[in-house]
């Protein structure tokens, strides 16, 4: 019997009080999701959180099994037998499948938008099909998570990127990331020009206008390092954003080659901008909304509507704390596409559960970069350095 036919699960209506709970239709799912959204983002112990998450994820498994043919075919044959009693019992899709297949659990008419992410290492973009409901859940979740970090007030916002990116008619994940974050700011100011060069007069005016005020600074990790911090260093400039909060994402891969880690990134950033509060976050185009934000201790935390499992890259069994492996991400959000449980190609380490010194509960972890890309070699190679004209 496949995993998703388990009918009865524990559900916690009130803290500590577990009752058997089954979600059997989309209305019940949405109702329970809304309850989850009202829980503290990082306040529940792992047991309590699992009791809330598991029925939602089990329902999503059943939903996609019924609605998505490809997911159905994979689940039926992946050889998983037995009941789902914990999050790690759920099956997972390899995230690369979204680059090759049109995975959706809705009709073509219900598609509200298609998110395409090219990633940095592959030419084939992933296609993520969103309906209005999933898209709305993504926005609400992002709001809920980020308000924890930057508060409810909309802050003046400096975007370390070029306005060209969001003007591009192709809806890229980079543009989606910027647009998603713009909601949290006002007076949106692009720090880079069309050619990805710092627009110094604009940056200067922004920092003077909001001197001594809290501001939000957002960008992709590599862009900030390459096109902002490096430029500040080279030009011998410093700007004053002492009360700024920097949010950044996108991975450290390119910075690793320059021997820049999180700590050094923060030190140099503070030297040149005065920004003390810096939060990296981990998330993927295949699970927009449920992001993992860095705490004051420098650890990424799983929010209440999502979770993380680290798996041994060879056996694919869950790895214990402090053992590096492949990251599996769970998200209670997607009903329009089967992306609730994905095995990523990122390596990471689970650092602990419920006991981070920052005080937040649940699992916390770090990301150590991507699996090395296996070369596509040979006669049929069209991706690397063939003779090309």
């Amino acid at each position: 019997m496949p995993a998703f036919f388990v009918p009865t699960l524990l559900f916690s209506l009130f803290f500590g009080q577990y009752v058997a709970m089954t979600i059997s239709n989309i209305e019940q799912y949405q109702e329970q999701f809304n309850r989850l959204l009202n829980q503290p983002v990082n306040g529940l112990c792992q047991d309590q959180k699992q009791a809330l998450l598991l029925p939602l994820l089990t329902y999503l498994d059943q939903l996609h099994f019924a609605k998505c043919k490809e997911f159905n075919n994979i689940s039926l044959n992946s050889g998983e037998v037995g009941s789902v009693t914990s999050l790690s019992d759920l099956g997972y899709l390899a995230v690369r499948l979204f680059k090759h297949l049109e995975l959706k659990s809705i009709s073509d008419e219900q598609v509200f938008k298609v998110l395409r992410s090219s990633g940095t290492t592959s030419q084939t973009p992933a296609s993520i099909y969103l309906d209005k409901e999933t898209s709305s859940r993504q926005s609400k979740t992002l709001v809920k998570i980020l308000q924890q970090t930057i508060g409810k007030q909309r802050l003046p916002m400096l975007i370390i990127d070029s306005p060209r990116v969001v003007k591009d008619p192709k809806f890229s994940a980079r543009a989606a990331g910027i647009q998603g974050l713009m909601f949290f700011g006002r007076d949106h100011t692009y720090a880079l020009d069309e050619h990805m060069q710092p627009n110094w007069p604009v940056i200067q005016a922004f920092s003077e206008k909001y001197q001594d005020q809290a501001v939000l600074v957002f960008g992709f990790t590599f862009m900030i390092w390459q096109h902002f911090i490096q430029e500040l260093i080279q030009q011998g400039k410093a700007i004053d954003l002492t009360k700024g909060v920097l949010l950044h994402s996108g991975g450290w891969k390119k910075l690793e080659s320059e021997k820049v880690n999180n700590l050094r990134f923060k030190q140099i950033l503070q030297q040149h901008t005065g920004i003390k509060q810096v939060h990296n976050f981990y998330g993927m185009a295949e699970q927009v909304g449920s992001i993992f934000v860095e705490c004051t201790e420098g650890h990424l935390h799983a929010p209440v509507m999502a979770d993380v499992i680290v798996r041994d890259p060879v056996t694919l069994l869950p790895s214990p704390i402090n053992k590096t492996g492949l990251i599996q991400v769970l998200s209670a959000l997607p009903t329009s596409y089967p992306g609730h449980s994905l095995l990523t190609e990122d390596m990471g380490t689970l650092l602990g559960v419920d006991d981070c010194l920052c005080g937040q509960k649940g699992k916390y972890f770090c990301v150590q970069g991507r699996l090395p890309k296996t070369e596509v070699r040979g006669c049929s190679d069209t991706q690397t350095d063939e003779p090309h004209v």
């Binding site: 490809e70 992946s78 899709l93 694919l316 040979g378 006669c379 190679d381 063939e386 003779p387 004209v389």
Partner: protein, 418 residues
Amino acid sequence: MILKRMNPMSDLTVLAPQHLSAEDMAKVHTLCPSQPASDLTLRFLQSLSQTLLNDAKCKAFPELIALGFWLRSSNIKQMIGSNASLQPDLRGDLTQVTKALGTVLHFTPSNVDSMFVYSWVCSLLMGNNNIVRVASSDSEAKTLLLSTFNQLLELPQYRRIAERNLFVSYPRGSAVTEHLSKQANARVIWGGDESVNAIRSVPCHPRCRDISFADRYSACLINGDALRNDEQVDELATKLWRDTEAHYQQACSSPRLVFWLGSPQQQQALFERINLFAKASFNTKSQLNNHLVLSQLLLSSGQSYPPIVKDCILAQSINQLEPRFLDWHQGAGAYLVLGLVTNESIEQSVEKLATHITDKLQTLSYWQIDKGQLLKLVGNPSIQGIDRIIPVGQALDFSPNWDGYDVMSQLSRQVSVI
């Protein structure tokens, strides 16, 4: 305003012979070509063979040893001997002379490191001058190969060959391709479909011949009824692995598809045996992840079953071959197993194979199938694929008859005197 013309040669590097420059390369097409199968060429190829076979550094690369072996003078002589175009044909009053085409431009595939050497050697044997564009992604085997060329081409006795055979590299998209194409009498183009088409669309000399080696895949045909004991399983596993291991199963002639006829009883045992071979070299996290991805992709089609083996290799059964299955295949030890198990005889099953063979199928290797049946199969007019049928274990052995071309006669011209 005067428009400055960029010199297209400015972004070109001569990799071998190292003592030559882009200016020397520009002259190659003006130099007189050579006599086909000249003594000098044969001596040079013999030296190349000996260097590859004796160099301790080459020992680590089975593909270079195989190349050295292929270049032995006995094999080269056999190739020339079996090539009718090189035998002066004196029948009555008809006399035929074989001549070089002139200058041949080669575009090599990016990572099947040594494959391009074979077509270059065929061209060299026919007396042509050659410019070989080597893809710039580096591999140890390729670096070693080029340093061997350099070592030999510096010798005074091979000066004539050195002047006429240059290995170069330049960035993709460079104007060099067009510049050289206009001087070439033939282009040998290895690459993916897109790259081949891109190069073929570059204007060339009106009488230039293009020989294209584009995307192909290969299959192995196994008679399951002829796998009765462990020894036979072991022998087949060893041979199939030999065809898989070199170039990480990326060569077009490495089998990615397995047609299984007769009893499937030993399937599990065969692939577990191959998996043991693979453990030593096909075990990176990325490769395992590729196998997981391919396995799930195949399952998603509804035309596949849970893997037979999914570890260092992936062996997974499919009901039918969809073209996208091969696009998903990333090499590194993955076999799509198409069972044609029927109640019929092997002979009838072989006939049924015709419906599963597409024009992209290059090499069919076989285990314990009657040659007569194979001849009958390939003779079927509905089959557009299959350019080569060989016993399993020999899939990567190059022959001058490749992809359906007789490469040596394509790279020469025959002049009849009547």
